[in-house]
Amino acid sequence: MNRNHNRLTLNSYILSGNALPVLICSVFLGFLMLGTACKKEVEPAGPEIRLVFDPGYTTEGATVAIGKAIRFRVEASGPDANLTNFTVKKLYGGITKTVLDSGLNSASFSTGLTFYQGVEDQVEWQLSVMDRNRNEATVSLTVYKDPNSTFGGIYEFNHIKMGYQSNTAFGHYFLPLLNKVFFDDSAALNQDKTDILVYFNFREDNGVMLPSPTFSSPGEETSASGELYDLYYPALTSWTTRNYTKYDIRVENGLTEELFNQAHNDSLLIVSYDDVWGKKKYKWAIAGTLIPLQTASGKKGIILVEQADLEESGTITFSLKLQM
């Protein structure tokens, strides 16, 4: 038998179709191998965090009087992956309370933080960072309450009456330090003292639009845009200092009118406000509502709403107790 008759060029062999299944099976297997190819994992380095104990910052084992500032300076970096989360937790009496939980996306940061000494005798402060690979690093220090400290004094402002955005008889801005209610022009001259403002609109709750007397502050939006600035108080956009007051929005905050009336030092104010729930405005502030707050200067307070009209030309009346 002449074997040369069976000798084919590669091209004709392929075109004859005889090699086609082999070829395509090879590709098929190639796909499978691609799918199962593995990569060598490299162990990433975790993030780093440290406290800087410069003068003026709280150190390990420090004692601080109730209501006084606790200051931290933190430096953190993510050598392998950007830092994406920074948290500060208080651990005391078996309780863990997150007081700061912030998102970021940065290779490093350095920041100063201010908290205020509460009524707890001993608190372990845990400061943690997490990178985008969810690796964590934590530093902690313990701060003690000054055993000789007493609760601080408070200012009591009774029956403050303010007008909503369309009210021309009563001012819209409250300045606790001056105990004054101002309209735009006067408030603009005292921007750094203006902590509270009010307006009225309708807000949706559970699919229903409800009338909403609202407490806010000049710093409601850092961008100074939105309905507060565009519709209600456009003058705010030209302010150079816009204080930001945070309102604890929890519906169940444990406060009663009786407790409010009995408060003659700042103990109730300190324990009532939870910064985790501190938001830029408080909606549906109807009569009887009790609202813990914290001003831009860190002063804690409680508002008791006594009367609230449900129209934008109306007024709202409230009492306020604020740390000195």
């Binding site: 075109l15 395509i24 099976c25 590709v27 796909f31 998102g103």
Partner: protein, 767 residues
């Protein structure tokens, strides 16, 4: 002298005569195979002379006088064509080549999807459509779902063109794509977990045809086959070796291509292997979808980066007796149009593995088929945002959906012109979904499995020599939700509000019975009417049954007790062909949907993520929906050069009962379903000629409601698309597709822009 005169006259006249004759020869080709067309007929209209092409497609006419002649070409199964030529006296080298295209309407169409057995389309008592390869090539579209515009009653939404996340296809007045079942080669492409079918992973060039069956078809296919079934049938090799490749470039730096190699080792009547390898790639820089008025530095282009590849291997044991396996992998990554810090911005990414096997044997009387399939899809979403409070949030969603199934079918011809079909399907799907936050310590997870166990029986009986056909079917499905759970690891403020809702859900099981009866009467070979009643159902999605979390409308609670929606459909339709040029396919239907699912409020509200007060909602079986509609499909082969397709559909989808019970929400009784256009029109004019073939498509989609309360609606949309193409050297085709040639810019329900005019130039080679 007389003799001399006669000789002179003979010479002169003979010379004159000899000068006035001419010849023409040529060759006839098939557009389908790109090869010659043996036995094609060629006639000369003016003389009546005719010729039959030889085995190489060649023909020749001699002895023609000088003048203009019309050559007519014809062959069975191909559209006739003609060509006018000018012959000069003494010209014996005139040559004409003609390419005949497969006929549009003359071949009886066979459809499998309607009954899971091979049936002539005109004998099926259901509204069906078949989109063939020739139609696909003549459409000014670039994605597979857009091709469905050729069928009336299908609402294809692709506001962002090729940049859409998945493509959205709904049928017959229904408004969620989970209401229809998408198949590829008869096996499910839709995921059981209820996520949208990803049309992007399909390459137009790999498709042989698309079969569409409208209305409920759960009697054969079980769950989700409520609005209809769409079956995409891929190509098999027809030659010993064949190959094709395509490269394209277009608007927004869109580029890519595909390649296909296929072949078989033997002739059709023998045992042989066949195999196909194909791959597809598409990339595009994309466009910014945010209008100028709201654009910020965080808006970026909707980019696309996708590829897929597949391999099919089969062994034909005998004609219609084969084993086939297939494996496919697809990668699809799309930007969502915004970026903050992370590379690539926000995106959706799918990686899908798909494998299947089929054994099929068809004899004169019986058909047996056994299919298995497995699919695993990895979905990853990257999401960064800044909330109104200024808080930055960054998380990844990682979901693994896995699905497998076993499908058995046996059908046999019985005495009395009956064909009995029995089958059993087992299909299981599961999802493991995790939202991993990077800006907090939380991980939110949910998982669950859904199993379908169905058996069905179908009988087709013909009376009066096939003029009257009765189809009756019944299917039982047992559906089980198992392993459902919802959990949160390391909850922070971002997710702590969901903590009380954690836990494992009890397994639930329910049964579905899906009947179908249809009657078809053929007046003649090409005119028939049908009447049918059928029921369909679709289960709740795994997301609705297992996932608790924040959605646009509120804070959604999982509802593992969610019951399936079901639908009764009554339908009357006709298939009317007039000669080989006109077909008219009208249909009217009335559907009653039961236990339709909708979000309702529980009466509670909560601050999700601690910033926004949202109502607590849950998807419940609330409504009864009535849908009535009409469809018309009209095709007209105007001449050998022009053909025209026109579709119109009308849908009215009304909520007739809205039983809120103890839930909170607005009574939607009497209102319309959202996202259902009342009127839809599509027309396509195709012009085939010697220079540049052209296809012009026009699409109108009416306004749709955007909210359940029917207070906000979209504007109607009208788009014109154009495709110009020409084949050179029988193997190279160049084409330019211009979508939205008027450059209409409109915004969708989210206020985002469409891409405007979109052009794509391509070169295709086939061997």
């Amino acid at each position: 002298m007389r003799i001399v005169f006669a000789v002179i006259c003979f010479v002169i006249f003979n010379g004159l005569f000899a000068q006035q004759t001419a010849s023409v020869s040529g060759k006839v080709f098939s557009a389908q195979s790109a090869g010659s067309l043996a036995l094609a007929h060629v006639t000369i209209a003016e003389t009546g002379a005719s010729a039959v092409c030889d085995s190489n497609g060649n023909f020749r006419f001699t002895g023609l006088r000088e003048g203009r002649y019309l050559l007519r070409f014809s062959f069975i199964g191909y559209a006739p064509d003609s060509l006018r030529i000018n012959l000069k006296a003494g010209d014996h080298r005139a040559r004409v080549n003609m390419t005949l295209f497969p006929a549009e309407v003359s071949i009886p169409e066979v459809i499998i999807t309607a009954t899971r057995t091979e049936q002539l389309r005109g004998s099926v008592p259901a509204k069906t459509d078949v989109i063939r390869k020739e139609d696909i090539d003549r459409m000014p579209f670039v994605t597979v779902d857009e091709l469905l515009s050729l069928s009336p009653g299908i609402n294809v939404t692709r506001d962002y063109g090729i940049y859409n996340k998945t493509g959205d296809v709904t049928l017959r007045g229904l408004n969620r794509n989970v209401h229809s079942l998408l198949l590829m080669d008869g096996l499910p492409l839709s995921l059981l977990d209820g996520s949208a079918s990803n049309w992007n992973r399909l390459d137009v060039d790999q498709i042989e045809r698309i079969e569409i069956v409208k209305g409920p078809n759960s009697s054969l296919y079980g769950g989700n086959a409520m609005g209809g079934v769409i079956n995409i049938i891929t190509r098999k090799p027809t030659e010993r070796f064949e190959g094709s490749g395509k490269a394209f470039y277009g608007s927004y730096a869109t580029l890519g291509g595909n390649i296909r190699l296929a072949g078989r080792t033997g002739k059709e009547d023998r045992k042989y292997f066949y195999s196909v390898v194909d791959a597809y790639l598409r990339q595009s820089d994309g466009y910014v979808m945010a209008p100028d008025s709201i654009r910020t530095i965080n808006d970026m282009e909707l980019y696309v980066n996708e590829y897929n590849m597949g391999s099919k291997l089969g062994y034909v044991i005998a004609p219609r007796h084969f084993i086939e396996t297939e494996y496919r992998y697809s990668y699809d990554m799309r930007g969502t149009g915004s970026i903050l810090f992370e590379q690539g911005g926000n995106f959706n990414r799918y990686r899908t593995h798909y494998a299947r096997g089929r054994y099929s044997r068809t004899t004169e009387k019986t058909r047996l088929s056994l299919d298995v399939f497995w699919k695993r899809e990895h979905y990853r979403k990257q999401n960064e945002s800044v909330k109104s409070s200024g808080a930055y949030t960054f998380y990844h969603t990682n979901a693994v959906s896995e699905e497998s199934g076993l499908f058995f079918l046996w059908s046999t011809l019985l005495p009395g012109n009956q064909e009995l079909t029995v089958g059993a399907d087992i299909r299981r799907g599961s999802t493991d979904n995790e939202d991993t936050y990077h800006t907090s310590a939380d991980t939110v997870a949910y998982s669950g499995s859904l199993g379908f166990y169905g058996v069905y029986l179908q009988d087709q009986i013909s009376f009066f020599k096939g003029r009257l056909n009765l189809v009756a079917g019944l299917r039982f499905d047992a559906v089980q939700l198992s392993g459902a759970s919802f959990s949160i690891l390391s909850p922070s403020l971002a997710t702590a509000f969901m903590e009380p809702y954690q836990g494992a859900f009890p397994d639930t099981t329910w049964l579905a019975v899906s009947p179908r009866v249809g009657l078809q009467w053929g007046f003649s070979d090409n005119k028939s009417i049908y009447l049918s009643w059928s029921q369909g159902f679709r289960p709740g999605t795994l997301s609705d049954m297992c996932r608790t979390g924040d959605v646009n409308k509120g804070f959604k609670l999982a509802n593992p007790a969610l019951l399936p929606e079901s639908m009764d459909n009554f339908e009357l339709g006709a298939l009317l062909a007039f000669g080989s040029r006109f077909t008219l396919e009208p249909a009217v239907f009335y559907s009653i949907g039961h236990r339709f699912q909708n979000f309702v409020g529980t009466g509670d509200s909560m601050y999700t993520s601690g910033t926004r007060l949202k109502p607590v909602i849950r998807r419940e079986n609330i409504g009864e929906v009535h849908i009535y509609g009409a469809e018309l499909r009209y095709t007209w082969q105007i001449s050998t050069h022009f053909d025209f397709i026109f579709n119109y559909s009308f849908n009215q989808s009304r909520i007739m009962k809205y039983e809120l019970g103890a839930y909170i929400g607005k009574d939607l009784t009497g209102l319309s379903l959202i996202e259902v256009p009342e009127h839809m029109l599509f027309g396509r004019l195709h012009w085939k000629n010697r220079w540049v073939n052209a296809a012009l498509g026009a699409k109108y989609s009416g306004a749709t409601w955007l909210d359940d309360e029917n207070t906000v609606s979209t504007e109607p949309v009208f788009l014109l698309d154009l495709k110009l193409y020409r084949t050179f050297l029988k193997r190279v085709t160049t084409a330019i597709t211009i979508q939205n040639i008027l450059g209409t810019r409109y915004t969708d329900s989210k206020g985002m822009l469409n891409p405007g005019r979109f052009m794509l130039a391509e070169v295709k080679f086939r061997y």
